[in-house]
């Protein structure tokens, strides 16, 4: 099939940020996640848990609580005292509002979605009214002594439970007075000198308050009488997160030691009508503190300081064995953070606060297959470009020749011209029509820059040594304003395709400067897209692992694509949990397509027959000379290599060199904050 020499790159210090809070919107089936660096990610659970949107963070923003209102409004509140509403079409904050109560610790929306309550550092609970286009301060409830760390509305909207230090208060919303004061005990004698922080409260509709505190207890209180119903000692460390399911029959609590505990409302005796909260399951999928948990209809979603999002299915709720019934861990973002300039062998790494440009090293020795060759020329870091301003970088790209670098934040786009011989770098001004970009792409001959901007418009900028001119603006025919997340340009400079968040793929003709056609919409979001350099066929992979090939010139799906849909690739291809993030082609063998996701990369040869779902799967890691394994392998179109993982990027350079950017998980784990001390027997 192909023999390659591999550049195995491990010097990309990609460090994801820990998860702070999350909110699940059951109407839209979407999860909004906020991380410690201020970025917000939205996952579409019905679309194979694909990371649909990413709103980059900012240095000045801190997020402590996140909340959905309706289907499409997202609010966060943080320690800088500000409430931010986000524009989910333009992927940036719409406006920020200062609550004037000091740092905001928690936010909660009532069940009718008319009012917001914020718990502040100065001990006051502030009520804001939700208007169609903004929120407005209404009034303060009675101010208390300690800081308010958690809030929960009762279903009726008349009472609010607020957790503070050592105490839980129940407020009557109409009068604003505290009607009940519940003292939380400090737990076992060893921790009695530190006050007990009630990290979470939840108000159930039968007037039971569930609280999780820093002594590791989950307690159930009666809100009418102010008495304790039951205590469950869950861990020796804090219970940092708590979530109640929608029909109030299950509570999930996340602790500092990485365990997630589930309580269910069950009757202790079969046939008995009385139900109690019973601790049922314990999951240990995390190594560090679990700071956010939520429950969907069929799964428990948890995230914490170990930066992984874990979606664990509840087997009693899952009906069909489908993609829902698999444990998923989202480790890396579902888009590529590495750009490659093939001719000068340069790699551009995107960090939230800077860009790094590296030149690959090399070796002079030739070896046998399976051997690792010594590195004679070390890889060198050519450039470290720090961003300007507070906002994090959301996209970046480098041209094929390696002379142009562009990156964008929510507030600005910058274009740089590189001269590699004397390492000179100069900044070029871009025309005023551009403010921020969702995706950037250089054309194959590095003469044009395509900027996918807000409202799904694509600007074409022509580049030259002295200045940049705005040439044209493309608008999608359907008039949709969903943000564009993928751009692909053909090698001959004639075609440009864009994919947006409404699963629409538009093809534009660059020579005639007009819209050419639109690919038939497939319900799943496209995760990677590329145009074949010779045949000009567009190859698209989607979030549900389906792959299509569309002939641009003929405006219809190719025969190979129809054959693929009929016969299908091997079934193990469909089991992959992570989406494909990059597609590339082999210039030496035009029928080969190389794709990769987080755990493997594969080569599909379009000229070989497809085996279909039922055949046995043979995979070759190293070529063997024996003839028995040769025959079945040769006829299979799909070859998978999972030797290098976890992968961030795979690309083909000239002369059969393959560059593989890995990020070993242990490198990420070694830079995480301190975990709790756990004594294990026998160590």
């Amino acid at each position: 099939m192909g023999q390659f020499k591999v550049h195995r790159v491990r010097f990309f210090d990609f460090m994801p940020s820990g998860i702070r809070c999350m909110a699940f919107n059951s109407k839209a089936d979407r999860l909004a996640l906020a991380r410690l660096d201020g970025s917000v990610e939205i996952f579409n659970f019905s679309n194979n848990y694909f990371q649909e949107k990413v709103i980059p963070g900012s240095d000045s923003r801190s997020i402590e609580a996140i909340c959905w209102v309706g289907c499409d409004r997202l609010f966060t509140a943080g320690l800088n005292g500000e409430v931010v509403e986000y524009d989910l079409e333009r992927l940036c904050p719409k406006y920020t509002l200062d609550a004037f109560g000091g740092p905001i610790w928690t936010a909660a929306c009532n069940s009718e979605e008319t009012h917001f309550a914020f718990g502040c550092e100065d001990g006051s609970v502030k009520l804001f009214e939700i208007l169609p286009d903004k929120i407005q301060f209404e009034r303060n409830l009675d101010r208390q002594k300690g800081r308010i760390l958690s809030l929960s509305w009762h279903k009726s909207g008349m009472l609010i439970a607020a957790g503070s230090l050592d105490v839980i208060r129940v407020f009557d919303v109409k009068s604003g007075h505290s009607v009940q004061r519940i003292l939380v005990d400090r737990g076992s004698a060893g921790t009695s000198n530190k006050d007990c922080v009630v990290w979470n409260v939840a108000f159930l509709s039968d007037y039971t308050i569930v609280s999780g505190d820093s002594a590791g207890k989950v307690q159930l209180w009666d809100a009418n009488k102010g008495t304790l119903i039951k205590t469950h000692l869950v861990s020796k460390w804090d219970v940092l997160s708590l979530s109640v399911s929608e029909n109030e029959d299950s509570i999930v609590a996340g602790t500092s030691e990485g365990t997630v505990v589930q309580f269910q409302l069950l009757s202790p005796k079969i046939g008995d009508m009385e139900t109690q909260w019973v601790r049922t399951r314990t999951f240990k999928h995390h190594t560090h503190d679990v700071r956010a948990v939520t429950e969907t209809r069929t799964a428990v979603v948890s995230g914490g300081l170990d930066t992984q999002l874990v979606i664990c299915p509840l087997m009693d709720k899952v009906e069909v064995k489908s993609s829902e019934s698999v444990l998923r861990k989202v480790i890396f973002p579902h888009r590529s953070l590495v750009s490659c300039a093939k001719k000068p062998s340069l790699l551009l790494f995107q960090f939230p606060d800077q860009l790094e440009l590296w030149r690959l090293g090399g070796t002079d020795t030739i070896g046998k297959p399976g051997e690792s060759l010594p590195v004679t020329r070390k890889p060198e870091k050519l450039l470290q470009l720090k961003r300007k301003g507070d906002d994090h970088i959301c996209c970046s790209t480098i041209s094929e020749c390696g002379h142009w670098i562009a990156y964008s934040t929510v507030s600005s786009i910058r274009l740089y011209q590189l001269q590699c011989d004397n390492n000179n770098i100069s900044i070029t001004k871009l025309p005023k029509v551009l403010r921020s970009a969702h995706q950037l792409q250089f054309s194959a001959d590095s003469s044009k820059l395509f900027v996918a901007s807000e409202q799904a418009t694509i600007h074409v900028i022509s580049l030259s040594r002295s200045e940049c001119k705005h040439v044209h603006t493309f608008k999608p025919k359907s008039g949709s304003s969903a943000p564009v997340h993928l751009l692909a340009a053909s090698a001959d400079g004639q075609w440009l395709t864009s994919a947006n968040r409404h699963c629409e793929i538009n093809v534009y003709n660059l020579k005639k400067l007009k819209h050419h056609c639109m690919v038939p919409v497939y319900n799943s979001l496209p995760s990677a897209m590329a145009i074949h350099p010779e045949t000009n066929n567009l190859l698209v992979t989607h979030a549900d692992q389906q792959m299509f090939e569309f002939g641009i010139v003929d405006k219809q799906y190719t025969d190979w694509s129809r054959k693929l849909q009929k016969e299908g690739l091997h079934r193990c291809r469909l089991k992959w949990g992570t989406p494909v993030t990059h597609i590339t082609f082999n210039p030496q063998a035009p029928s080969q397509v190389i794709l990769h996701d987080t755990h493997m990369f594969c080569i599909i040869d379009q000229s070989l027959p497809l085996d279909g779902l039922k055949a046995q799967f043979y995979s070759q890691l190293t070529p063997k000379d024996t003839s028995e394994t040769d025959k079945p392998c040769k006829n299979n179109a799909l070859k998978i290599c999972s030797k290098y993982q976890p992968l961030l990027h795979v690309n083909l350079l000239e002369d059969d060199w393959l560059v593989v950017v890995e990020r070993p998980l242990i490198d990420i784990h070694s830079q995480l904050p301190a975990p709790v001390k756990q004594k294990k027997f026998g160590t």
Partner: protein, 218 residues
């Protein structure tokens, strides 16, 4: 209340006169002598005088206070005037606002790379202040920052402060190693960036030891 007089002089005073008079008889007069004779007019004059004095002092005090207040108000006004920009600067800015910003754009292009892209209007105001200076109200900023810092300190101390029983990542990884199926080398030997300070110290110690050995040998 009128004070009582010593001796049996009797109170032949007109009761409807409300006079606050305190008459000091003098401590050095002996008890046996008759008290001095004080005429009514004299007493009345004394009382009136003292009352007038009291009123005058009160008036004077009030006036003094008024003066102080007025002076302080003037001082504040002067300080405020000084704080605001001078009149001519304001006029200049206003006139520059009405002009178009084109001549300033070319100026901007010649400036260095470190210049931020700003609107032409902002450019005018910033041209007054030097490059890369921004006017902020210190009082607001410091207050908000200290509160945010105290909040993040609170959460840091609750999660990572004393008494939270935390361990290092090294411990956790070595525990994983010991309990895992494949027992591999510790992370500090596998990962070259790990524990760089300790490795640096070890290198220095080795050099020093080798040096000391060579010195001893020579």
């Amino acid at each position: 209340m009128a004070t009582k007089r010593r001796g049996g002089f009797g109170a032949r005073r007109k009761r409807n006169m409300e006079v606050k008079a305190v008459v000091d008889l003098g401590a050095d007069s002996s008890d046996d002598d008759l008290p001095e004779e004080v005429t009514f007019e004299k007493a009345k004059a004394d009382a009136v005088r003292s009352m007038r004095n009291a009123l005058e002092t009160v008036k004077r005090d009030k006036e003094l206070l008024k003066e102080k207040r007025r002076k302080r108000q003037e001082l504040f006004q002067q300080q405020k005037k000084r704080k605001l920009l001078s009149e001519d600067m304001l006029e200049e800015i206003e006139s520059a606002y009405t002009k178009k910003g084109k001549p300033l754009d070319s100026e901007e292009q010649e400036k260095e790379e470190s210049e931020e892209d700003e609107d032409s209007e902002e450019e005018v105001v910033n041209a007054r202040l030097k490059e890369s200076y921004k006017a902020v109200r210190l009082k607001d900023q410091i207050d908000a920052n200290t509160r945010q810092e105290s909040a993040s300190d609170f959460i840091r101390s609750r999660l990572y402060g004393p008494g939270t029983n935390r361990t290092t990542t090294n411990q956790m990884l070595s525990l994983k190693n010991k309990t895992g199926n494949n027992k591999t080398a510790a992370v500090q030997f596998v990962n070259k960036n790990w524990g760089s300070e300790n490795k640096g110290k070890a290198e220095k110690l080795k050099k020093r030891w080798v040096h000391s050995q060579t010195v001893v040998a020579n």
